[in-house]
Amino acid sequence: TQLLEQSPQFLSIQEGENLTVYCNSSSVFSSLQWYRQEPGEGPVLLVTVVTGGEVKKLKRLTFQFGDARKDSSLHITAAQPGDTGLYLCAGLSDYKLSFGAGTTVTVRA
């Protein structure tokens, strides 16, 4: 049973379009992290959000943490082929990370 539900599972868009990935949970986490994973590699941390309602921007990526610290979203503006990958959200409770199943994003040139 996944503690964190991600949607959509797959997303294929054209270069230049925008996209949003959602991460929802019934549990409250002390913080939430977003990772990106490429084939044959381990996940790489993109951002950590800690405060309810927090918004963080990383170039074309915008991350939001819900007010109740149960949900989060990742928005990519003007997606590029280099954004292609598996995006994972993970909730932190003590030292343990609980991961969502991931969203596979494909950006077509």
């Binding site: 996940p43 994972l88 991961f99």
Partner: protein, 116 residues
């Protein structure tokens, strides 16, 4: 600097055989984690080592799975009498708790295990 390394990168074995997977964490990282990633699934926590404390084994799926960490550095995950459902990518991560407000885990590239 060197990141987390894992070996082998790929392992194919026959059902019923034992396998050992190795993880070399980043030097100075006291915390080490093992995860399992099955196709279409997120990462599943297996076990956590922190310094000299007793490991948190709460994620190990059965008593066929065990792990040890020698000298606070290298870790080995052992799966005995492998089953086909053990086929997955096994990921190791390390971190240095206390360095930042929120612990950042650094992942290795994983070992892809296939049980025939």
């Amino acid at each position: 600097g060197a990141g987390v390394s894992q070996s082998p990168s790929n392992k194919v074995t026959e059902k019923g055989k034992d396998v050992e997977l190795r993880c070399d964490p980043i030097s100075g990282h006291t915390a080490l984690y093992w995860y399992r990633q099955s196709l279409g699934q997120g990462l599943e926590f297996l076990i956590y080592f922190q310094g000299n404390s007793a490991p948190d084994k709460s994620g190990l799926p059965s008593d066929r799975f065990s792990a040890e960490r020698t000298g606070g550095s290298v870790s080995t995950l052992t799966i005995q009498r492998t089953q086909q459902e053990d086929s997955a990518v096994y990921l190791c991560a390390s971190s240095r708790p206390g360095l930042g407000f929120v612990d950042e885990q650094f992942f290795g590239p994983g070992t892809r295990l296939t049980v025939l």
